[in-house]
Amino acid sequence: MWRDAVLVAGKDLRIEARSRVALWQILPFAALSLVLFAFALGPGPRVLRQAAPGLFWLAVLFSTVLATQRSFAIESGEGTRDGLRLSGIDPAGVFMGKAAAVAVQLALLQVVLYAGMILLFGVHVRVVWLAVVASLLATVGLAAAGVIYGALSAGLRVRETLLPLLVLPVVAPVLLAGSRAWAAAITGPVSAGLPWLRILGAFAVVYVVLGVVLYGPLQEAA
C-alpha cells in the first residue's frame, strides 16, 4: 500500500506542479476569501485579530473542496479512470496517495495564508508547536475526508455542486477545533488548545481508517 501511495501522490503532485491549478486558482481563491471576510468584519484591528483563526480555517476549508475537486478531475476521463482501476494499484494506496497529495497542497496553502494573516491582521502565533500540530492534524483529516467524499461524488454528473454540500458539514469539527487551537496558539493559554488537538487527532484517525477501508468500494461505485 505504501509503495502505491507514493506512486499516486508523486503522479498527482507532478501533474499539479505542471498544470499550476493550485497556484493560479486555489491559492488566489483562499487569499481572496481571507480579504473578503476581513472586509465584511470591518477595519477594527481587535475584531480582526479575534476572528483571524476562524477566517484562516474557513479559507482552508473552502480550499479543501477545490483541491479535492481538482484531485478527482485528473481522473475524470473514462480512460484514466479505467486505467487506474486496471493498474493493479491497491485502492487503499490510491486513497493514501491522493490524500497525501491534497495534504501537501493544503499545508503549503496554510503557510501562505498565515503570511497573509500577519500582513492583513497583524496576527502572530506565540506557541508555534501548538499551531503546527493543530495544522498537521487538521490537514490530514481534511485531506482524508475530502478524498473520501470526492470518490463518492466522482462518477456523478453533479459532482462539482454536490462535493461542497457533502464535505463542508462533515469537516465542521475541523473548523471549530482548528480555530480554537489556533486561538490558543495566538493568545494562550496552551492548555486551552490541548482538548481541541485531541478532537483534530481523532477526526484524522477516523477518516484515514474509513478511507483505507471504504475507498475500494467507492472507486467501484464511481
Partner: protein, 233 residues
C-alpha cells in the same frame, strides 16, 4: 492449458439494460480473436467484462483462470485494455505515462525505453506532454504502455482508430508478436479489412450475443507455438 477467456451464458448489465445477454466465448492463450458487429452489438461490453470492469451478473466467467464474479481484482492486474478513451494524463510526458503504467503494475521500469522505441516514440516525442500529442501519437503511447506491461490478455477496443498506415502495420505486427509470445488478444473493430487478416477467429456479435464464428485471415505460419513470455503477475 486453461483458456485465457472462458464465458458460458455470461450476462452483464450496463445500468438496468442488458449489455451481454448470455455470451459463450472461449479464447486460448496465443489466440487472436476479432469481434465484429454493428454499434450496440456488445463488443465494448464484452471487452470490459473480460477486463473486470463490468460485472457479470449470471453465467460462468473466467479470465486467466480467475473467476470474474469473485476475483475481479486479480483479473485486472493481468489484463491490458486499450479502450476508446486512452488512459493518458495530459500533463505527463509520453515516457512518464508509460513509466507510471509499468510501475503501478509493480513491474520494473526497464521495459519502458524498449516499448517506446518499438512504437516509434523517440527523441522529442518522449518528452512531450501527452496533452500536446495528436490522437494517433496518444494511441501509440497507450500501446507502448501495453507492450511494456506485457499483460497475459490484450483487450483492444477499436485499436485502429486514429492510427496512420504505418502505425496500423505496426499494430498488426505487435498483435502477431504478442500472440506468438503466448498472450491472448481480443480486439473489436469496425474495419474488418484491417482486423480480419490479424485474426485466428472472427466472432460476429449482435444484440449482446455471440452469433456465428468464422475463421480469420492470420497465416498459419504466424501461429507459432506460444513462447509463454507474456507477463503473468
Amino acid at each position: 492449458m486453461a483458456p485465457a477467456v472462458h464465458l458460458r451464458t455470461a450476462v452483464a448489465l450496463a445500468g438496468r439494460f442488458p449489455a451481454l445477454a448470455g455470451v459463450d466465448l472461449s479464447v486460448d492463450p496465443g489466440d487472436v480473436v476479432v469481434l465484429v458487429g454493428p454499434n450496440g452489438a456488445g463488443k465494448t461490453s464484452l471487452l470490459r467484462v473480460c477486463a473486470g470492469l463490468l460485472a457479470v451478473t449470471s453465467g460462468q466467467a473466467e479470465v486467466l483462470g480467475c473467476d470474474l464474479r469473485t476475483d475481479r481484482a486479480a483479473v485486472r492486474r493481468r489484463v491490458g485494455l486499450l479502450g476508446h478513451a486512452d488512459p493518458l494524463y495530459d500533463e505527463l510526458t509520453a515516457a512518464e505515462n508509460v513509466r507510471f503504467a509499468v510501475r503501478s503494475a509493480g513491474l520494473p521500469a526497464d521495459t519502458v525505453d524498449g516499448a517506446l522505441d518499438r512504437l516509434g516514440l523517440v527523441g522529442r516525442l518522449r518528452r512531450t506532454p501527452a496533452g500536446r500529442l495528436s490522437a494517433g501519437q496518444r494511441r501509440r503511447v497507450a500501446l507502448a504502455a501495453l507492450v511494456a506491461r506485457r499483460p497475459a490478455l490484450w483487450l483492444l477496443d477499436e485499436p485502429h482508430a486514429g492510427l496512420d498506415a504505418g502505425a496500423r502495420d505496426l499494430l498488426a505486427a505487435l498483435v502477431a508478436e504478442t500472440a506468438a509470445a503466448g498472450a491472448a488478444v481480443v480486439l473489436s473493430s469496425h474495419e474488418p479489412h484491417l482486423a480480419v487478416p490479424m485474426a485466428d477467429r472472427v466472432v460476429v456479435m449482435s444484440g449482446g450475443r455471440v452469433g456465428e464464428e468464422r475463421p480469420g485471415g492470420r497465416a498459419p505460419a504466424l501461429r507459432a507455438v506460444p513462447r509463454g513470455d507474456a507477463h503473468v503477475a
